[in-house]
Subunit: 338 residues, 2 copies
């Protein structure tokens, strides 16, 4: 069989040039039986000369594998996810897998479309950092899946940061900096995700320390700067006497800019602790104090679990929580080491 354009050499041409049968070439390509070393050398030379590379699609059909992992995320332009994808790609590359990228935030039906497509395609596995659909859709997939920061099903392992620790550390930083009233920007609450633990733990520490918390819920999948800019502006208009802010990187940045525009001194008047620790926190002047999610380790762990599943391992109720770390910038002092 020859595919991929008329000018490409096929297995028959290789066999002819090497002076062996087509079956021998096929056995060698698919590693499906004995071929003498001397013969292998002849075949390799023929392949080289003809610039022949075995057709992956035909091989995949035979082996029922594609070497492709689908990666579902809300939006690649978001700095957390672009970094996560970068690390996942590096990890998968080491295992010989490629990424099919599926961003779902820009089209209302994208998640459903992609899942349907993935049912038809032989992708060897799925990593998902989204879910707005019925969990049933994921269960139907019948493929190895690992979820990032999302609870989907007992049979789908989840990898996440230890958000409980993250929320606690953020709260303790603001408390030890003397804050009495803080703005707390929280993520969409309708999703079943480990990240809610962050908000719970944060609020608990604040309550124990008699710090007032004013919460704002940010909508999902609206990751454009303007949305956060407007949210920051609104929060600053409605509240005047607060002295601390806790939010993920991008809304934290917009809050800091709003504070600077209003001639608030940072950290003297307002302390800010960001969450995620993507490079945008380092781009700022002053640099943001932040709780860093270990994006590299999240990627590594996600890929390892997926490889386990592809190799036949079944997980039940598997959850991996990875340590976060406080990183001092200039928007709040870190007294204890975390």
């Amino acid at each position: 069989m020859v595919f991929g354009g008329k000018t490409v050499a096929g297995i028959k041409d290789v066999a002819k040039k090497a002076g062996v049968g087509v079956g021998t070439v096929s056995r060698m390509i698919n590693d499906s039986g004995y071929v003498a070393e001397k013969t292998k050398k002849k075949i390799l030379e023929a392949m080289e000369e003809l610039d022949y590379t075995p057709n992956e699609l035909a091989r995949n059909l035979y082996h029922k594998r594609s070497g492709i992992i689908a990666l579902l995320i809300p939006e690649i332009a978001n700095p957390f996810f672009s970094r996560f994808v970068s690390y996942v790609e590096q990890e998968l590359y080491a295992f010989g897998y490629k990424i099919m990228l599926c961003s779902t935030a820009n089209e209302s039906n994208a998640e459903r479309d992609y899942l349907n497509m993935l049912k038809r395609h032989i992708v060897d596995g799925v990593i998902t950092g989204v879910h707005s659909l019925d969990i049933e859709e994921y269960k139907k997939m019948n493929k190895p899946i690992v979820a990032l920061d999302r609870y989907l099903d007992e049979n789908i392992p989840v990898v996440a940061s230890n958000h409980k620790e993250g929320g606690r550390i953020a709260a303790e930083i603001l408390v030890s900096n003397g804050c009495k009233k803080v703005l707390h920007f929280i993520g969409e609450t309708s999703v079943s995700s480990p990240y809610h633990e962050r908000h719970k733990a944060f609020n608990l520490v604040m309550k124990e320390n008699h710090v007032d918390v004013i919460s704002y819920t940010l909508k999902r999948n609206l990751m454009e700067a303007q949305y956060y800019k407007d949210a920051a502006k609104e929060a600053f208009e409605k509240n005047t006497d607060f002295d601390g802010i806790f939010a993920t990187d991008l809304p934290a940045v917009e809050c800091m800019k709003e504070a600077i525009r209003r001639n608030k001194r940072i950290p003297e008047d307002i302390k800010i602790v960001a969450y995620d620790g993507t490079p945008v926190t380092e781009l700022m002047e002053p640099e943001l104090t932040t709780i860093v999610q270990p994006i590299d380790k999240l990627a590594k762990s996600t890929v390892e679990l997926l490889m386990d599943e592809i190799n036949g391992n079944k997980y039940k109720g598997k959850k991996v929580f990875l340590d976060v770390q406080g990183k001092e910038g200039k928007t709040a002092k870190i007294v204890n080491s975390y």
Copy 2:
């Protein structure tokens, strides 16, 4: 043929349930012959009931198409490329294509490995924003290719911003702001790319206006903040009497931070014009004046040319240059409108 796991219904099951022959179902799936509307309805109902979706891999083998476009970029975590990929994905989605992501900066052999892989795989086309290899490797691909901002071969169309205009506009902004001596950070010069026009045009306008230009060449594929931070620091240490800076977004940001650390007033002491116009320029306080590359239009044009090629169009010496735009922030005034 049935693939993709033991529990999945096959074409035979669908045919049996619908009470028709396998050939009829196959004709419908592949749109390869007449099937009566009434029969189609019966088949669709059977598919629905059995949760059957035709196996894409088998169909691809038949149609010699995969529905996958490979996208080679240096590094997805770079804000320009994460945005470009986001737009390309949206454009391709509308045409029913998916992206295979190939970042090449993190592994020394990644570009060669990916190109070898792409020769074997039936990807339907390639979009590349990298090239460190022999152009011969791309010529051998024998697949539709479009290049972003890179000259590869006469037969490979190139899409780029009108960098000549971009360089001219940036220079005119700095001149009209009264600059007399500027730092100019330029990209790797060993690559054959339309972006060199930016530097030439910038230098020409500066020469005409008797403005001194001190050039620094930044290395390729080193997109980490620390590298730019060090470069900015070095430039500030070696030069004291400059009053303007021209650089792409990330080094421009690091220059601004270095200036702030040295208590330089912006724009009073130093004017800054950035190039690219990714969202990081808006994240800064003060926001950066920047020349905006039309990343959405670059993506649209790239995808359109690729679709043309997939549909059999051959291009020879095709170059598409898209308008850039000056966008005023607070680091330099824009007197004329561009």
